[in-house]
């Protein structure tokens, strides 16, 4: 019983983290039509920012400021938002594909820094001993997992309610107009570029928050936690759940993460250990097929925002 509860809380914390990131992507893509291929880079920015600010000082790195957990969270959002502003300012006035290419560049850049700037990021070994909040009171067991789950779920609920309110606010309505018909929005005097930039930056901040939550839950981050496959998983979550719908983003996170975990268990149990390293890429291929199949069969996803035109 305790084992099941332990695994369930572990699983659900991940669902909550992914859902927060997927909500950020939904604001960018679902609500505004901005295509981000570098989600992993924004998540990594948040994770590294918070980890480096809160970790205790170490001799071999220039980081470890021992700041409180909350400060790390806020800084993670701010930093990811700044990176989002940078990508947005570069491309949001240009062809739509250029944002995609630039966000891809951002993720490559962040990955390069994480891999190689050893003095700052620990290089391939990553950052270890990232503080886990409140562990002195709750210990390291199930109680802590459940408390972290409660906090993540609360943050997710906060993000969800905030985004739902934004959606129905005048600001959100302008975003939808921009998504459907940019010229119409411009003709009623809305500064399309600024609205897009705001939406992109806020979405990036949510991704940074997700990254920070990940770092403090696992307690250890390394460059290979933020490979393009992460971007891809988040996209799969949004597309399967239905882009444009905040509830869909959360549902998609649960479905795709469940699917991913199950396929991992399947591979571990059914494929001989000698073949497992070789078969790991197949897990990626399965998710890739899932995303393409959803696009082909049900382009709006499970809970897609009806009445929107694609493209």
């Amino acid at each position: 019983m305790m084992g099941v509860l332990g695994y369930a809380s572990f699983f659900l914390v991940f669902v909550a983290i992914y859902a927060i990131i997927a909500l950020g992507l939904n604001l960018q893509w679902g609500s505004t039509g901005l295509f981000n291929v570098g989600v992993a880079g924004f998540v990594a920015t948040g994770a590294y920012t918070s980890a480096l600010l809160t970790a205790s000082p170490t001799a071999d790195r220039v980081n470890g400021f021992g700041l409180p957990f909350a400060a790390g969270m806020v800084a993670a959002c701010a930093m990811a938002g700044l990176v989002g502003l940078f990508a947005g300012v570069l491309t949001l006035r240009l062809r739509r594909d250029y944002l995609a290419i630039t966000t891809f560049g951002v993720s490559v850049l962040i990955q390069t820094i994480a891999q190689n700037a050893t003095a700052l990021t620990g290089g391939p070994f990553g950052v270890q001993f990232i503080p886990r909040p409140a562990q002195t009171w709750l210990g390291t067991g199930l109680a802590w997992n459940l408390a972290y789950l409660a906090m993540s779920a609360a943050l997710l609920a906060l993000a969800y309610c905030g985004l739902e309110r934004l959606r129905d606010s005048p600001w959100g309505r302008v975003l939808r107009v921009i998504r459907e018909d940019e010229e119409a929005a411009a003709s009623i005097g809305k500064r399309v570029y600024l609205f897009r930039l705001q939406s992109f930056a806020v979405g990036s901040m949510l991704m940074g928050l997700g990254g920070a939550l990940y770092a403090h839950f696992v307690g250890y981050i390394a460059p290979q936690d933020f490979l393009p496959i992460l971007t891809f998983q988040i996209w799969a979550m949004l597309i399967v759940g239905g882009s444009g719908s905040n509830a869909g983003a959360i549902l998609g996170s649960a479905v795709v993460w469940g699917f991913w975990s199950a396929s991992g268990v399947f591979l571990r149990n059914w494929i001989p250990p000698s073949e497992q390293a070789k078969a790991a890429p197949l897990q990626t291929a399965i998710i890739g097929a899932l995303i393409v199949a959803t696009l082909l069969a049900r382009p709006r996803g499970i809970l897609g925002d009806l009445g929107r035109k694609h493209g």
């Binding site: 250029y98 995609a100 890429p281 393409v292």
Partner: protein, 305 residues
């Protein structure tokens, strides 16, 4: 100094050939194909497999490889072209009416699937077409600008790139199919009215793009090595080269892509010398940032996006 320029031109030749194919598909289909790098990687490995199946032959002096690799490259061209056409038939064609961004997402998905399958099939360890070690030839003595040493293989890559581009230019300029492609790129509706079959143009574009990708990838395999992630690593330089050259500016965009490729190659060889090999990707990001800030329509792009 000379060596840095020569290294840049070698990398640049590979990027240029890949970027031409990418630029063609962007001109015709009007979406950024994120799976183009995987066409390259698959092309390189197809050549490796075919090369391995043909009985070993003595190398074609002075190059490190024998005639089997030449035959294997032709097979890889056919294979990558077929893969491109298959991707279009299975995925892109069905999504075309949803607009360009849906196609970008699908191509991103397709690239991950193709890369994972390649990793599954070939493993992650770098491979080489030949075990033969080539001795670099002293082209320019050390006393002049630090000297210049090149292997015959590298010289072949540098020499073949302009030949291929000139052939492609002639094809687009003079052949009926090439002219149809230019017409479809300039104005799809008008081309259709003039009786040009769009499906024929689409097929030709994928075949050309895939074929060039395979040749570029074999060049990369000869001069560097084969890795399942090579396509992914080339993707950002390819995009930067295409944007630099002015994506979708008709026949000029193939020369734009060549120039873009060479600039990217030089930027990469400079970054490797100044910052170290591990910071190679920074070059493409820097070029991309500068071009987007300074001339977002590219050096040859005229119309505003």
């Amino acid at each position: 100094m000379l060596q840095l320029v020569a290294d840049g031109i070698i990398i640049g030749s590979i990027v240029a050939l890949g970027a031409i194919g990418l630029s063609l598909t962007i001109s015709i289909f009007r979406f950024s194909n994120f799976s183009h790098g995987e066409l390259m990687a698959w092309g390189a490995y197809l050549a490796l497999v075919v090369n391995g199946m043909i009985a070993a032959a003595t190398p074609l002096e002075p190059f490190s490889f024998g005639w089997p690799l030449v035959a294997a490259t032709l097979c890889a061209v056919a294979g990558a072209a077929a893969l491109a056409v298959a991707l279009d038939t299975l995925v892109f064609r069905r999504l075309r009416r949803h607009g360009s961004i849906t196609l970008v997402i699908a191509s991103f998905g397709a690239s991950l699937v193709l890369r994972s399958l390649l990793q599954y099939w070939q493993g992650g360890v770098p491979k080489y077409y030949t075990e033969n070690l080539q001795i670099a030839i002293n082209v320019v003595p050390r006393s002049v600008q630090g000297g210049l040493r090149l292997t015959p293989d590298q010289m072949l890559v540098i020499g073949l790139m302009p030949v291929l581009v000139a052939a492609l230019h002639a094809f687009l300029r003079y052949s009926l199919l090439g002219r149809s492609m230019r017409a479809a790129a300039a104005n799809p509706d008008l081309a259709r009215v003039a009786g040009i079959d769009p499906e024929r143009v689409y097929r030709a574009t994928w075949i050309l793009g895939g074929g060039l990708a395979a040749i570029a990838a074999v060049f990369a395999g000869i001069t560097v090595q084969l890795r399942p992630t090579m396509g992914h690593e080339l993707l950002l330089p390819l995009f930067a080269a295409v944007i630099l050259g002015g994506a979708g500016s008709g026949i000029a965009s193939i020369w734009g892509a060549v120039l873009g490729g060479l600039v990217l190659g030089l930027a990469e060889s400079t970054a490797v010398t100044v910052l170290g090999a591990e910071y190679r990707p920074v070059a493409a990001i820097a070029v991309l940032t500068i071009i987007l800030l300074w001339r977002p329509n590219g050096l040859f792009g005229e119309k505003s996006a």
